[in-house]
C-alpha cells in the first residue's frame, strides 16, 4: 500500500528543482559515466578485526554489506580522480582541451587539498599557502584541461556529486559557449579511518561524468533537492537524521517524478546508493515504484558520493539499459540534503 502523504506547506518550488515543468526540454545528457573503487578489498571480518566497525559483522552482513574498498598507499584521492576522469573523457570521445568546465567534487574537506609532500612540516606563510593546493587545479594540470574553468562542489555530503551535475547542467543551459562539463567526484577516508557510518560500510571510490548539451544518452529529465540545515551536525542530529530520512526521501522522489510529468510506474530503473539494502526496499514501498525496478544495491557498500554512478557506469558498460528507459538516482547527504535525479537512457 502506498499511502498519500500529508500536503506540505505552500512554498516556492523554484530553488529545489532543476528543470521546470513549464520550460521546454533541453537535451543535456550524461555522455559518459566512469567509476572506480579503491584498490584494497577488506572483508567485514578483517574490518572488524582492525576495529574499524561499530556494528556486529552479522548485522552488517544481513544488511547486504560484504566488504569495503580501501585506498592503498599512494592511491590517494587525486590518483583515483585522474583515472576515472581519463576513462570518462575516453568514453565520451572528448579531448581534454575541449572541456569547458571542471567541477571537482568531494564530500570530505580533505579531498579538496592535495597534501604537501613530506606532510605539513612547513610553517609560516607556506603552511597557509599549502591549504590552497586545490585538487581541482591539480587535476586540470594532470589531464591538460587547458580550456576548463575550475570550480568545486562540496558541503552536501553524499549528495555532492548530484549537486555538481545540477550546477553543470545549469552552466550548459545558461552559457552557450560552454558545451562540455566534466564532473569528478572522489572521497578517500584517512588511513585507518573508521569504516562504518550510521550503520553503513564505507568504501573509497571515485566517479566522473561528462555532461554535454545535445547529448541523447542519459538525458536529463528532472532533479529535486531538499536541504535542511537543522541537521547540520550529524553527530548531534544522528537520531533526527535517521527519523527524517524516509519521509523526506519519499517526498523528494515523489516531487521529482511528478515534476518530470511522470508517475511512479513510469520509472524503469531505480539506481541505488550502497547504503543498507533494507532501506531501499522500504523506499520502494513508500514511493510506489514497483519493487522489481530496483537495481540490486552494490556489495561494496557506500562510497560517500560515487555509488550510484559506479552502478550506472556498470549498467551502461554491460549494455543493460534499454533506449528510452527512465532511471531514478537518489541519495541523501549530510548537511542534510536529499537529492533525486531522473534520466532517460
Amino acid at each position: 500500500m502506498t499511502a498519500p502523504h500529508v500536503s506540505r506547506p505552500a512554498r516556492p518550488r523554484g530553488p529545489g528543482f532543476g528543470g521546470s515543468r513549464t520550460a521546454p526540454p533541453v537535451p543535456v545528457g550524461l555522455r559518459a559515466v566512469a567509476g572506480e573503487l579503491a584498490g584494497e578489498r577488506l572483508g567485514l571480518d578483517e574490518l572488524a578485526r582492525r576495529g574499524l566497525l561499530t556494528s556486529p559483522v552479522a548485522a552488517l552482513a544481513e544488511s547486504g554489506f560484504e566488504h569495503a574498498h580501501v585506498a592503498t598507499d599512494g592511491e590517494g584521492a587525486t590518483e583515483l580522480a585522474r583515472r576515472v576522469a581519463t576513462a570518462a573523457l575516453e568514453e565520451a570521445g572528448v579531448a581534454a582541451g575541449d572541456v569547458d568546465a571542471l567541477f571537482w567534487v568531494s564530500a570530505l574537506p580533505r579531498g579538496h587539498v592535495v597534501p604537501a609532500v613530506g606532510g605539513t612540516a612547513c610553517g609560516g606563510e607556506e603552511a597557509v599557502l599549502a591549504d590552497f593546493r586545490y585538487s581541482g587545479s591539480w587535476l586540470q594540470e594532470a589531464l591538460g584541461l587547458d580550456r576548463a574553468a575550475v570550480t568545486a562542489v562540496t558541503q552536501q555530503g553524499c549528495a555532492s556529486m548530484f549537486a555538481s551535475l545540477r550546477l553543470a547542467r545549469g552552466l550548459l543551459l545558461s552559457e552557450p559557449e560552454v558545451e562540455t562539463v566534466l564532473c569528478v567526484g572522489v572521497d578517500v577516508l584517512p588511513p585507518g579511518a573508521h569504516r562504518e557510518i550510521l550503520y553503513n560500510v564505507i568504501s573509497d571510490a571515485a566517479c566522473a561524468v561528462v555532461l554535454t548539451r545535445d547529448s541523447q544518452v542519459d538525458r536529463w529529465l528532472g532533479y529535486r533537492q531538499l536541504s535542511r540545515g537543522s541537521s547540520w551536525d550529524p553527530v548531534a542530529s544522528r537520531d533526527e537524521i535517521l527519523a527524517s530520512y524516509f519521509p523526506t526521501a519519499r517526498l523528494v522522489i515523489e516531487e521529482a517524478v511528478e515534476a518530470a510529468g511522470l508517475r511512479p510506474d513510469d520509472v524503469d530503473r531505480v539506481i541505488p546508493t550502497g547504503v543498507t539494502r533494507a532501506s531501499w526496499e522500504i523506499l520502494m514501498d513508500l514511493t510506489g515504484i514497483p519493487a522489481d525496478r530496483l537495481v540490486p544495491p552494490p556489495a561494496f557498500g557506500h562510497t560517500i558520493l560515487a555509488d550510484p554512478f559506479l552502478v550506472l557506469a556498470d549498467l551502461r558498460r554491460r549494455g543493460e539499459l534499454q533506449r528510452g528507459e527512465r532511471a531514478l538516482l537518489f541519495t541523501y547527504g549530510f548537511g542534510s540534503s536529499w537529492a533525486a535525479l531522473l534520466l532517460e537512457h
Binding site: P9, Y199, R228, A243, P247, A278, I282
Partner: protein, 386 residues
Amino acid sequence: MTEEAVLLTGATGALGPQLVAELLAEPRVERVVALVREDREPVARRLAALRQQVGRLAEASPGRPAPDLERLEAVAGDVSQPGLGMAPEMARRLAREVGTVVHAAADTRFTAPREELWRANAEAVEHLAEWARGCPGLRRLVVLSTGCVAGRSSGTIPEELLPHPGAFINAYEETKWHGERIAAGSGLPVVIVRLTTAVGSRATGRAERLGAFHQLLAWCARGVMPMLPVDPEAPVDLISNELAAGTVARLLTLPVESAPRVVHVAAGPAAPAARQLLALVTDELRQVRESWRRGQIEPPMLVGEATFARFRAMVERSGNPLFTRILAAADSFLPALCYPRRFETRGLEALWDGAPEREWEDLVRRAVCQAVSASWAAPAEAGAAG
C-alpha cells in the same frame, strides 16, 4: 426523585476527576464516595487533591454551576482486595447507603506483567461484585471498560458482549475483556461502558494522565516516528473526557429496567480517518512548533504492515538505542492500528437524544498544544489514558 450515594473507584485516575464533576452535577446523586488507596498518602490529602482537580475542571466550564465539593467524600480501600480493602465497618455502612457503583479503576499499563493486570482488571471486578451483592439498595453497577476488548478484530464492533477475539494486542486488553465477562456474569444490574481513546478535556485539551495517543503525538511532534502501520482510511476513534464522564452520569438517569447492557462511548460514525487525523495534527504542529513551521520535520507516513515490518527489522539490526526503545514501547499498542474498526453507538446516541458531542477537531488541536507545551521528550510507558 430519590437521591443516592455513588461509590466511585478510580477517582484519582485519568478520567476520575471528570467523572466526579459529572456525577456531582447529576441531581440524582446525593454524594460521591471515592474509594482511594492510602498506600502513599493519607486519604484526607488525596481527597483534598481530588477536590482541587474537580474545582479546576469546573473553572474550565464556566457555563455550568460549580459543583458542591462537600458532596465528595473519600474512603480508604483497594478494589483489588477482597471486601475492597475497606475497614469492615465502613464496608458495611457504605453497602447500606450506596445506590450506584461506578467502577473506573484499572491498571492501564500495556506492558505491565499479566498477573498485575489480572489482579487490577479482572479480579478487582470479582471483588467489587462480591461486595456489591451486599448492597440492598444497589440500582446499578457501571463498569468502565475499553474498546480495546475487541482485540485483534476488525469491522463493526457491536454494543454487546463480545466473543473472545482470538488474540489481543496486550494483556491489558485481555484482562479487561475478562473483567467484562465477570461483571456480566455477576447477576447484578451491570452496565458496561466501553470507552475508545479518551484524549483529554474538550475544553482545555488537558489529560490527567497521558496514554498511548499522547505518546504517539509526542513522538510525531519530535519527528522520531517516521511511519505508522495504518490504512489511511482506517477510522481513529477519539473521544473527550466530557463525553465519557457525561455518558456515565446520564446512565444514572435511566430506569434500571431500560438501561442498556453495553454502551460504547465512541466517535463511531464521526471518527476521522487516519489520514484526516494526521493532516490535522500536522496542521496544528505547523502552527505551534517552529521546527514544523519551517518544514524541518515531516509528518509520519501511513504505511502497510509489510513496510513497517521491514522498517522494524532494519531498526533491530541496527541496534539504534532510541528507535529500538520507541518501537519496543510502540509494540504494546501500535498493532491495534492494523485492525480498522468502527464502534456502534446507538446506545450513546439514545442517551444523548441523538446528538452526543463528538466533534474531534478542536479536541485534537488542544491535545496537540498540550503535547507541545508539556515538552514530552522521552518515551514513557505506554498505556491507555482511561
